[in-house]
Amino acid sequence: MTAAIGLLALLGGWEALVRLGGVDPLLLPAPTQILQALWEDRALLAPDLWTTTYEVVLGLAAAVLAGAALAVAMHISPALRRALRPLVIGSQAVPVPVIAPLVILVLGFGLAPKLLLVALVCFFPITINLYDGLRAADPDARRLLSSLQATRWQALRLVEAPAALPAAFTGLKVAAAVAVIGAVFAEWAGAERGLGHALLTANGQLESARAFAATLLLFLLAIALYGACALLERRVVDWTPRGGSGRP
């Protein structure tokens, strides 16, 4: 409730600032102008929204698959862990705006480079959180399974993987929050559609309100993605207080 009031106050102040001539609307449109542009340009922005959503969701899915595979591989095999960990960490060392044009150069203007860049941005938090979660499984439960002569695969499936789910979802939520950034940088490096592309074009045409409208959509997309992941977590991780019910 207080958050909503605070937000409205902020927007009200912003609106007043522009209307009273404190700032050039070309530089900073008023909230009402942004909403107007959102409505008027909806035929333009809707397909772009769909494209970017598509890139983000598929890229995130790819990141989940790759991240899970990497985390499990590193967890099971010390040799793979030694080999892969520097690569995993190193992959995050190069800033995305620098890598994006190179990827576009190699893979062109289509969907693939966008997916790759989103996946690149997203897989690290997923991998590292899942890996840590797998290692943190209850040692007593592991000993119990050992005493029952369980195979490595059974230990992973019955104890370690479920125990790692809370941590995995933390990683997923972080990835969801930054996935949109990856898509935008990818589009800026070279694209024919998408919200990031629309933003650049609108800026070039001095259509500030439309640019802000595109930004607003990106913001809402990121929030919706995060919210979807949090909802999924509540459904799946229902045995701890952060998930569903549990005794206090």
């Binding site: 119990l144 005493s147 029952l148 002569q149 369980a150 479920p162 229902d238 549990g246």
Partner: protein
């Protein structure tokens, strides 16, 4: 808690296979000696309590019998035992009935078969109605009973119980001791029971092994030889308890200074 007479959980175990022979074993972890020269023989169907201070290697002894550890010297001859770890190790994402059936699932049974097998015993274990409950919704005593059912359903003739009641409050602990005595009466097994509670050992066991602080060595093995059921207030029980405590305490004060840092 209602206990009802019932058929055994599994068929009668082969007599020889149900014994445990521990022959002069040494176990060290790096430079730390956990057990030294421990020799112990457990007859099939016998309940042996292993008592000693923290860090004396009691859990290590159980791990040997469960096949989780190899001794550095000496030999352990036993079928792999079913382990009940110190903290119940119930999986928080599984319901009580799925936890109870875990051993069967590991052995390859389907979830339905495992649930059915577990379900038969829920009433006798005082867990009726809690099949679908998660461990977080169960009391400490109930969790231990689920863990014990899980241990029984592993179908092994030998059970290794690692301080099964350590995490319970004193009242629940007393109830659970009686409950365990009854349960083992109905489902006889060879049992190695680790506990730091001397009284618990006297009430439950046929023999008591007293271990010294690290490195664990056998101080003495006491024959309990009392009829069951035993009450903690009984004179014989109290006397035996005091005798065991004396032995344990005497060992500490004798060479506590010279041997090791206090555990």
């Amino acid at each position: 808690m209602q206990i009802e007479a019932e058929a055994p959980v599994t068929g009668p175990p082969h007599v020889q296979a149900a014994g445990v022979e521990i022959d002069d074993v040494d176990v060290s972890f790096g430079s730390v000696a956990a057990l030294r020269g421990v020799t112990l023989s457990v007859a099939p169907g016998e309940i042996v309590a292993v008592v000693g201070p923290s860090g004396c290697g009691k859990s290590t002894l159980l791990e040997l019998v469960c096949g989780l550890l190899e001794p550095d010297a000496g030999e352990v001859r036993a079928q792999p035992a079913a382990l009940m770890p110190q903290r119940d190790a119930l999986l928080p994402w599984l319901s009580a009935i799925d936890n109870a059936g875990l051993a069967l699932r590991v052995a390859g049974a389907s979830r339905a078969v495992a649930r059915e097998a577990a379900h038969e015993h829920f009433a006798a274990f005082g867990l009726e109605g809690f099949e679908r409950a998660r461990p977080a919704a169960l009391s400490g005593g109930m969790r231990q009973r689920v863990a014990f059912l899980r241990t029984l359903l592993a179908g092994r003739p030998i059970l290794c119980l690692d301080e099964p009641f350590g995490a319970l409050d004193a009242l629940t602990r007393l109830q659970m001791q009686r409950w365990l005595a009854d349960a083992l009466e109905r489902e006889p097994r060879t049992v190695l029971l680790v506990t730091h509670d001397v009284e618990e050992a006297v009430v439950l066991a046929d023999r008591i092994v007293l271990l010294s602080p690290r490195p664990g060595q056998v101080l003495e093995i006491l024959d309990v030889g009392l009829l069951r059921p035993r009450a903690r207030g009984e004179r014989a029980v109290v006397e035996l308890r005091e005798r065991a405590l004396e032995i344990l305490v005497a060992d500490r004060s004798d060479d506590g200074a010279a041997k090791r840092p206090s555990s």
